[in-house]
């Protein structure tokens, strides 16, 4: 659970662009379409007994339950991969599968440089890109496939500028 400091406000929550989720949607679509095609072929080839139909229905429903679960797992993985930008810090949450999760954060005052990269033509058209933040520590943070990348950069840079102008004590009090 992410707990905010007193006077801390969430300015923006950034999820990955839907294109990052697209390959997983394709996987789920294939998982759904493949057995339908296979079943159609099977039922065309010969007479099927009534008991076989009940078995097939049961297996189909069970299979659909599993595919639903996989789809939801994919969605959860996508949904919980977030950057939370507040007026105090940036929180980077990365979900790896169901049970592994990494949360790291850095103060706005530690930010030294922000690099925006729009890697290719598709990214240009769909308006997403990669954002890399260099902090005062040795580590740099990056998030890939961010939508509205310049807006995200602006929100962070505004906070950096405010902090530089006002100073950390006054920022906390506001």
């Amino acid at each position: 659970m992410i707990t905010l400091y007193p006077n801390e406000k969430i300015l923006m929550v950034v999820h990955k662009h839907w294109i990052a989720f697209f390959s997983k949607i394709v996987v789920v679509a294939i998982l759904l379409i493949a057995p339908i095609t296979f079943a159609g072929f099977l039922f065309e080839t010969g007479a099927v007994s009534a008991s076989a139909i009940v078995y097939a229905q049961f297996l189909a429903i069970t299979y659909l339950m599993v595919v639903m679960l996989i789809a939801f797992l994919f969605w959860m993985d996508h949904y919980l991969d977030i950057w939370i930008i507040t007026n105090e810090r940036v929180i980077d949450v990365e979900q790896h599968g169901l049970f592994r999760r990494e949360t790291s954060e850095f103060g706005i005052d530690k930010i030294q440089d922000i690099t925006v990269e729009v890697p290719h033509m598709v990214a240009t058209f769909l308006k997403y890109g990669n954002l890399r933040i260099q902090t005062a520590g040795e580590r740099s943070f990056s998030i890939k496939e961010v939508p509205h990348i310049y807006e995200v950069k602006k929100v962070i840079m505004d906070q950096v500028t405010k902090r530089e102008n006002v100073g950390p004590q006054q920022m906390g009090a506001n």
Binding site: F58, M68, F72, W75, Y79, L80, F99
Partner: protein, 67 residues
């Protein structure tokens, strides 16, 4: 396959299945952000899973087992 064996396998399947469903819901409940679309996705998923589970149970009971 006898009814007893099939029932055993089916119960194990449902137990594993609902363990995963519960794990996902736990994660979401723990880390969800207020005021976004996610609660509707979760409700939709839960409704679909419950409906499919009921269908699955009904079809399981209707399966012709060896006696």
């Amino acid at each position: 396959m006898t009814f007893g064996l099939a029932l055993g396998i089916y119960i194990i399947f449902l137990a594993i299945y609902w363990f995963f469903v519960y794990s996902i819901l736990w994660h979401l409940r723990e880390y969800i952000l207020p005021m976004d679309y996610s609660k509707w996705v979760i409700r939709g998923f839960l409704a679909a899973v419950i409906i499919l589970n009921v269908f699955s149970l009904v079809l399981f009971i209707r399966l012709p087992f060896q006696t």
